[in-house]
Structure formats: structure tokens, C-alpha cells
């Protein structure tokens, strides 16, 4: 399996994501933001960071990049796409995922290890999170539909919601299930030395979703 990791000016976690993809399975390469060619990759990661500085609104500019146009086509054709943190914000801005990410409830950046619940498998995953705009929001009606269709991918474990996200939502998927976004950082949880290997499960789940597609 070949993973492509987008690289914007202002990306922070793209090299870590590259390493995590390699650790999860197979090969990985960076895709420059100005490229419309995804270079025949099997799955795409939109990584964390502050794309183009994020001074307007997180992800608001990156969604217009040539690489994101290619990702939209790739996703429409059923290709697996994982958005992490800023990548999740970009996918929401691009309309590839429902909802939006707002400033954290206490208006402060937060970095800590947290437990996530994988809504499909029921697994509890220990993964670090770090963000200032991670409060997931969607209108009540949309949330009910997401729950009914199984589109809530990850929730913060009870009592661990760090940012005021509605219904403790940490990550969602699109209706087809091939596009997933989450605020915590699975790419920083692939080595016991740095705290946990549970992040690998997130990459593996997406790869499996791609295989089913």
C-alpha cells in the first residue's frame, strides 16, 4: 500500500505522518500542495499543522489548494482519506466531511494524552491531542443523522472531552466511510517510546475501509 501525505506551507506533522504510514503498512511519500497529481497513491493523509498560517480560519485556505482539488476527486472515487487535526479542519472546510471545528471552549491550546473510543470496534485508544480549534460542532439535526448512519468515528472517553466538542465527538467519517477526520494525532502514537502504539489502529482501520471500497 502506498500512502500520500499532503504538504502545505505551514504543515507541522507531515514528516511524523509519513513515518507513521510507513510503520502502519508499506510506503509513503509527500505530495506538494501545488500538485494536482496524487502520484498513484492508494490512500491520502491530510496532516496536522497550520496550513498557510491559518490566520483566516483553520483550513479555510488549504481547501482551495490544487492538491485538495485532487483529493476531492480521489475521495469521490472512493479513495481512502484521513484528515488529522488541521487535516480534519481542511476536510470539513472542503465539504468532504460534515460539521466544523471551533475554538476550544476555554480559548486555550491544549496538548495532552487522551483516551478515544472507536465507535465501530469499541476499542479504547490512548492518543495525544494538541489543538486550539478542536471543538467539533454540527447542528442537532445533522448530529442525529450522523449518529444514525454510524458516521461518528471516534469519541473522547467519558470525562476526557478536552475542548467542548458536541457529544464528545473526536472524529467523523463521510457517508461512504472512505473519508475520516479526527482531532487527536494517531501519527504521534506509533512507538512505545513516545507513549503508545494505539495510533496504528487508526491507520489500519482506514486502510481496511479503502480495501472494502
Amino acid at each position: 500500500m502506498i500512502w500520500g501525505v499532503l504538504q502545505f506551507p505551514g504543515s507541522c506533522d507531515e514528516r511524523d505522518a509519513l513515518h507513521a504510514c510507513e510503520a502502519a503498512s508499506g510506503e509513503a511519500r509527500l505530495i506538494w500542495h501545488e500538485s494536482r497529481d496524487l502520484d498513484r497513491v492508494d490512500a491520502v493523509v491530510v496532516p496536522g499543522g497550520f496550513s498557510y498560517g491559518d490566520y483566516l480560519r483553520a483550513g479555510a485556505i488549504a481547501r482551495f489548494s490544487p492538491a485538495m482539488e485532487a483529493v476531492a476527486e480521489f475521495a469521490a472515487a472512493g479513495g481512502p482519506v484521513l484528515g488529522i487535526c488541521n487535516g480534519f479542519q481542511v476536510l470539513c472546510e472542503a465539504g468532504l466531511l460534515p460539521g466544523a471545528l471551533l475554538r476550544n471552549e476555554d480559548l486555550r491550546f491544549v496538548c495532552r494524552q487522551a483516551d478515544l473510543l472507536d465507535e465501530r470496534s469499541g476499542e479504547r485508544l490512548s492518543i495525544p491531542l494538541k489543538h486550539g480549534e478542536g471543538r467539533y460542532y454540527a447542528p442537532e439535526g445533522v448530529l442525529d443523522e450522523l449518529e444514525a448512519r454510524g458516521q461518528v468515528a471516534y469519541r473522547y472517553a467519558p470525562g476526557q472531552n478536552p475542548n467542548g466538542s458536541v457529544r464528545d465527538i473526536a472524529g467523523v467519517r463521510n457517508e461512504a466511510g472512505n473519508v475520516v477526520g479526527l482531532m487527536p494525532h494517531p501519527e504521534h502514537a506509533v512507538d512505545p517510546l513516545t507513549g503508545s502504539t494505539d495510533g496504528l489502529r487508526v491507520f489500519e482501520a482506514l486502510a481496511a475501509a479503502g480495501a472494502r471500497g
Binding site: 507513521a20 499543522g49 497550520f50 496538548c111 494538541k130 512507538d191 507513549g195
Partner: protein
């Protein structure tokens, strides 16, 4: 007032400039001289003292004089590091002051070709019951987070102390570490007559004009709002692009030399590059990309706009360099050329608007001898905050809740500590931050320390203690020191008492580093830290970097499991002098016992070897608040209580109170298997377990429920 005095030059210095030029300087030249001859750039009151520091060692790759120091970590790699102050800007505007402090130290590190991998901060504020201090703390923490998080460099450690003398003069010291392939590293010396001088990064505006001379080299007083425009504004996104761009340029071998633009902007970077290379440089200010079209030549030369780098490039490669800048969407302009004139010439559209010999501009500033005089006794105030007559349990809770001792989780959770996937020990999990280096097949540890209150008690002993605390912290994670950087934060060196503090402190730093065999590879001096109420505590901040073979073996600082033995190791003979408890009682006085450096070094070696051999379940050095606080913190981290008997310290002559709350160098609190601990020569004093902290210390014995201790220790929040 004469113009040169307004710019901070003395009459004597002005006469010297006239003599060196053979004429009176024009406005451009005077502005440039005033900056490069400022304390901040010329180190005119500290340079002679700094010659005492040991700077050589087998592992030193780059020493003082470069943008950052660097040590060899094996397998063709080097770790670069430096600490720098941004005190005065932060006292005026804490968010931007701290943010640009981080931005500046990052540039120092990538200027030598190292990719920044970690940031640490050492912060000092007035007591937290002051509205001003809370404002400064909040702004500085947000600023550090804003810059470091946005650029994607992990903030892995630091320290924060709250003391009254910092009320009007907070300290914001930022340290950065970077990793480089040794062969890709680059120096700052300009070379090659005819080579192009290229300015990269952000455009140049009016922000930060005169920051080095106006802000960093004089005391702050009333009416300082007028100095607000001298604080720089940071843009981490621009820096992120410039960083990636510079590293790509260096990897491709396209640069002859590289220098960041910090204090004094183009003036100092061009001046220092020319001086280091023994060449001249012609700069045309008309070619500098500007934010405001009507800027005067002197403004362009002294602007401290952030996120700019200056490079020397062979003429044939300028196009290639500019293409890579364009790829990273960052600016570039050829603004000058390297000459053999030995002069810095400033042109505007070809007309010469300033011309100064490099030697006079960069190295011509007179160096001053200090006139030290030891003050009599304690020269600072000390407000009592703890009523006398409390029980030992009450005192322990008061110490744990003291903002200087309490958990700093509120602050460090606002920093990204994991980006880069190297952070093997996060803040407060171990005594030093540990960063894995898969490139070199090992890891590094880093600690930053400096207790100004103890240095105020005895500048020599207090500074030795700061170096020893770093060494002890590194030992606790199994690391052997490779090198040290320091930031000397002091008051006005023209005053005899401050001069004495500075002199004694530098001697202590030199002696401790020499005795430990740790070279000083770089540093920074911040003087004139004085407010209306007098000087800050003398505050040498020491950052030490060490190497360890296997990060997986690192011991945490929390006890691991119930039933483990608790032991004390090292030449620890605590006293109440300069301690946190004495401070809270309002009884501070001059004087500290002299630490035994050789004995502490031997204890460090024992602990280091034991950690590497996997013999310890936990390791912590005993510092603020004494052994009782160390026991409490190790228990809180573990979620297990402990029982300890401090009789062994009583046998060393300590009173019960000294045994509990006394401070001093050389103490390690270890836990693990009893026989393993005894085999190290450690003295077993207790056992992990239960849900209380129970300490037997004669008539001061105490029992505190773990939950109460934890509530006190976690009380620092907004």
C-alpha cells in the same frame, strides 16, 4: 539632549567613534554605532568576565561566537543549542515579546543548518497575587505556545519561578535545540569577494526599531508605553517557510554562509558576518523589500522586523537560491555584495549614505571593567506569606501550593510537546526532557535551571548549584553532560552590588563547569533588568544537554509501585538558607553553604550508571521545598503514598526542619528494589505505599493524605 545620548552612547564613546571615523558620524552611521555598541550587542560590561568560562571539549563542534553552539552526538550528527533572553520586550508586551523570543532562538539554531527539534523556556515573574504578574504570565505562556505550536517544534520543558523582584522586570529566556548533519552545518562568516548578499524572508518594516539599545540596554521606567513600537511582531508561518527554505538551501550546498537577523537587524547581521570573515560588505537599502515605502536608510538598517535571514551566495547560484525561496513562498532580494574594503558601506540607489570600518563598528566598542563591591547582607525585600507556628503538615501543603513549586501543567499543556515524534519523556514525567535521536542511534536529555533567590543569597554558590541541578537532572535520566549554554540575567552592571553579583556568578559558573568537565558552547547576557523597586534577583539560567544510549531505559521521577524501597543518595546536607520555606516566612538572608562539586559529580555518575543499567524504578533530584516536597511529588505522580523516616539526615546534623524542608545540592531521591538501591550506597529511608505521605522527622513528623497533597500541588491555574 545630544543625539548620541538619546541613542544610549556616552560622550566618551561618541568621541571614540569620531576618532575612529576621522569625522562626525552622520545619522545612519550614528544609529548603527549606537546599536552595535549597545550592551546587548557589544557585551561591553560582560565580555571580559566571560573569558573565564571553559569553552573547549572533545565533543564541541561549534563554540561561542557562532549563532549557536553545537556538540557531536555521533554518527555524523551534531546537536546545536542556545538560550537567549527576551526580557525587556516581554515586560512591555508579553505575548509578542515571548513569541518573538522563541522565533529568534529558532533562527539562531537553523542559521547554522540544524533543524530545530525542541524548545524549553525559563520564566520569572512577580508573585502571582499581583494582577500585573498574572497578565505577564498569561501573555508569555500564550506567546510561547503560539509561536512554538504554529511552527511545529516541540516545547519539552522549562521552569517558572515567582519572586517579588521580578514584578517590574519579568524574565523570558527561551532555549532551542536543533539536529544537524555535521557536514551540512554552516558558519556565519562572510567570504568570497564579489559574492552576493541575499536577504531572505519577511519584508522590512518599522517594528522593533531601536529594540537592542532602547529596550534591552537600559532600565525600564515610567512612561514606557512610548517604547511599545520597539517591540517586534512575530509571524510563525513566515518563519516556518524561511526555516524549510534555509534547510533546503543548505542541504543543496547553495549558501556560503548564513546569519539570522535579530537584535539590531541588518546592522548587526551584516556587521558580524563581515567581521567574522575579515571582509567588507556593500548594502543598497533601496533593494530591501519594505512594508512602508518611505522608510529612511537608518530605519531600514536598524529595523528588527522578524523572520529574516541574510545569506552569502556565489553569483552563479543566486537564481537557484531565489527559485527555492519562491517555492517556499518567501521573499528574497540581492541587496549587496561582499567586498575587500574592510568597510560596511550603506548605499541608496548607488549613493553612499554611510561608510564605517567593520573593525570600528563591530569590534571597536570599549570594554568596561566592573567595579564590584559586595553589598552588606540581604538587599532585597521579603514579604512573609506564611503565618508562624504552623504544623509541618500545614507547611508541606503551603510549599506544594506555592506557585514556584506547584505543578506547571496549566502552562505546559498549552504547548505542543509531541510534534517531531522524538519526545520520550514529556514535561514533569522525568527530571529532564528526553529526545530520541534515531539518526544517531541514541538520545539526548536537556534541562534548564536557575534559582535566582539562591543566587541572591550567594551569587557564587547559587550559580554552582544551578549547574549542579542541571547535572543531577541529567543523571536522573541516565545522561552524561556534553555541553552547556547560559543566559545571565542581571540588573545594572554599573552599580557596584550588581557588578559584584555578576562577577561572583560568572566565577561560580566557570568553576562548576571546569570541575564537571562541561564546556560552555554559547550563551547570552541580559543586563539592566531593573525596575523602580530595584534590580531583579541575579539570575543565571543554565541549559545543559547530555547524551544517553537508550531512551527506553529512562527512569521517571514518580514512584513506580507500592512496596518499592525509597532511598536517598548523594552528599545532601540541607539547610534552611535561601529555602522556599524561609522565603514564605519572610526570613531570607544572605549566605549559602558551599556545595561540594566533586562529591555531587560522583553521585551523578552513580545514578547515571544505575539508570542505564535499569536498576532504578524512579529518580528525582531534591530541590525546591526540600526532601518532603520531593517525596510528595514522587507520590502524587505515582498515585501511591509513602512512608519515610529522615533519621539518616538527622545523623548528618540536620534539624528535623532541615531534614524536611531544607535545600541544597547533591540529593537524589530514588526508588526501586531495596538490595539494588543499597548496592549503590544509597540509604533506604522508606517504602512506597498507602494513601498518605507519612514522614518521621522527630518533633516535626507529619502525615498528609495524598489527595490533599495533590490538590495543593495542582492548584496553579487561571
Amino acid at each position: 539632549m545630544a543625539k548620541h545620548r538619546e541613542l544610549g552612547l556616552t560622550d566618551h564613546e561618541f568621541e571614540l567613534i569620531v576618532e575612529k571615523l576621522g569625522r562626525e558620524p552622520n545619522d545612519v552611521e550614528l544609529a548603527m554605532f549606537s546599536l552595535l555598541w549597545s550592551e546587548h550587542c557589544a557585551y561591553k560590561h560582560s565580555r571580559k568576565l566571560l573569558r573565564r568560562l571553559p569553552t573547549e571539549g572533545e565533543r564541541v563542534v561549534m563554540g561561542p561566537g557562532e549563532n549557536a553552539g553545537a556538540v557531536d552526538v555521533g554518527n555524523g550528527h551534531a546537536v546545536a543549542f542556545k538560550v537567549e533572553s527576551h526580557n525587556h520586550p516581554s515586560a512591555v508586551e508579553p505575548f509578542q515579546g515571548a513569541a518573538t523570543g522563541v522565533g529568534g532562538i529558532l533562527r539562531d539554531v537553523f542559521a547554522i543548518g540544524a533543524r530545530p527539534i525542541a524548545i524549553l523556556d525559563s520564566l520569572r515573574f512577580g508573585e502571582l497575587d499581583s494582577v500585573r504578574s498574572r497578565h505577564l504570565l498569561d501573555g508569555a505562556v500564550r506567546g510561547i505556545g503560539h509561536y512554538g505550536n504554529s511552527i511545529g517544534v516541540a516545547t519539552v520543558g522549562g521552569e517558572i519561578y515567582f519572586e517579588e523582584p521580578y514584578e517590574h522586570n519579568c524574565l523570558v529566556n527561551a532555549m532551542c535545540l536543533g539536529l544537524a548533519k555535521t557536514e551540512d552545518m554552516v558558519r556565519a562568516a562572510a567570504a568570497g569577494v564579489g559574492n552576493a548578499v541575499v536577504l531572505m524572508g519577511a519584508s522590512t518594516g518599522r517594528d522593533g526599531i531601536g529594540g537592542a539599545s532602547v529596550l534591552a540596554s537600559a532600565e525600564l521606567g515610567d512612561g514606557d508605553d512610548a517604547k511599545r513600537p520597539t517591540v517586534q511582531i512575530g509571524d510563525p508561518f513566515e518563519e516556518s517557510k524561511v526555516l524549510e527554505c534555509c534547510l533546503e538551501l543548505l542541504e543543496k550546498g547553495l549558501l556560503v554562509s548564513l546569519q539570522d537577523l535579530g537584535a539590531a537587524g541588518l546592522t548587526s547581521s551584516a556587521g558580524e558576518m563581515a567581521s567574522a570573515g575579515g571582509v567588507g560588505i556593500d548594502l543598497d537599502v533601496a533593494k530591501v523589500p519594505l512594508r512602508e515605502a518611505d522608510m529612511e536608510p537608518f530605519e531600514i538598517m536598524v529595523s528588527e522586523s522578524q523572520e529574516r535571514m541574510l545569506a552569502v551566495v556565489e553569483p552563479a547560484r543566486v537564481d537557484e537560491v531565489r527559485a527555492i525561496c519562491e517555492k517556499w513562498q518567501t521573499g528574497s532580494a540581492q541587496i549587496g555584495v561582499v567586498t575587500d574594503s574592510g568597510a560596511i558601506r550603506i548605499l541608496r540607489d548607488g549613493d553612499v549614505v554611510g561608510e564605517m570600518p567593520v573593525e570600528a563598528l563591530v569590534d571597536g566598542c570599549p570594554l568596561y571593567d566592573l567595579e564590584p563591591a559586595e553589598p552588606e547582607g540581604w538587599i532585597y525585600g521579603n514579604r512573609a506569606t506564611l503565618a508562624p507556628g504552623g504544623t509541618a503538615a500545614e507547611e508541606l501543603l503551603a510549599l506544594l501550593a506555592a506557585p514556584s513549586i506547584a505543578s506547571k501543567r496549566w502552562a505546559f499543556e498549552q504547548y505542543d510537546s509531541v510534534v517531531g515524534s522524538r519526545t520520550a519523556r514529556r514535561p514533569e514525567a522525568a527530571e529532564a526532557a528526553v529526545l530520541a535521536l534515531p539518526e544517531a542511534g541514541n538520545a539526548i536529555a536537556v534541562s534548564i535551571d536557575g534559582n535566582g533567590r539562591r543566587v541572591a543569597c550567594d551569587p557564587y554558590a547559587g550559580t554552582v548549584e544551578a549547574v549542579l541541578e542541571c547535572a543531577q537532572n541529567l543523571a536522573c535520566v541516565g545522561a552524561e553532560p556534553l555541553g552547556l549554554t547560559n543566559c545571565l540575567n542581571f540588573g545594572n552592571p554599573e552599580k557596584p552590588a550588581t557588578a559584584w553579583q555578576l562577577d561572583r556568578s560568572v566565577t561560580g559558573l566557570a568553576d562548576a563547569c571546569t570541575a564537571l568537565g562541561v564546556p560552555v558552547v554559547g550563551g547570552n547576557v541580559s543586563l539592566y533588568n531593573e525596575g523602580p523597586d530595584g534590580p531583579i534577583y541575579p539570575t543565571p539560567v543554565v541549559g545543559m544537554v547530555g547524551e544517553l544510549p537508550d531512551p527506553a531505559q529512562v527512569a521517571g521521577n514518580a514512584f513506580a509501585k507500592a512496596g518499592d524501597a525509597i532511598a536517598l543518595l548523594g552528599p545532601f546536607a540541607p539547610t534552611m538558607a535561601g529555602s522556599q520555606l524561609v522565603k514564605q516566612r519572610g526570613e531570607l538572608d544572605a549566605g549559602l553553604p558551599q556545595p561540594d562539586v566533586e562529591a555531587v559529580a560522583a553521585a551523578c555518575a552513580t545514578v547515571r550508571d544505575a539508570v542505564r543499567a535499569g536498576k532504578l524504578a524512579s529518580a528525582r533530584d531534591v530541590s525546591d521545598g526540600g526532601l518532603a516536597c520531593a517525596l510528595a511529588e514522587s507520590s502524587i505522580g505515582a498515585g501511591h503514598g509513602c512512608r519515610a523516616d529522615l533519621q539518616p539526615l538527622r545523623e548528618r546534623g540536620c534539624t528535623p526542619e532541615e531534614a524536611l524542608f531544607g535545600e541544597g545540592s547533591g540529593g537524589f531521591l530514588l526508588s526501586g528494589d531495596r538490595a539494588a538501591l543499597e548496592s549503590l550506597g544509597a540509604i533506604v529511608i522508606g517504602e512506597v505505599g498507602g494513601d498518605a505521605i507519612e514522614i518521621a522527622a522527630g518533633d516535626r513528623s507529619l502525615t498528609v493524605p495524598l489527595s490533599e497533597a495533590e490538590r495543593a500541588w495542582r492548584s496553579l491555574t487561571f
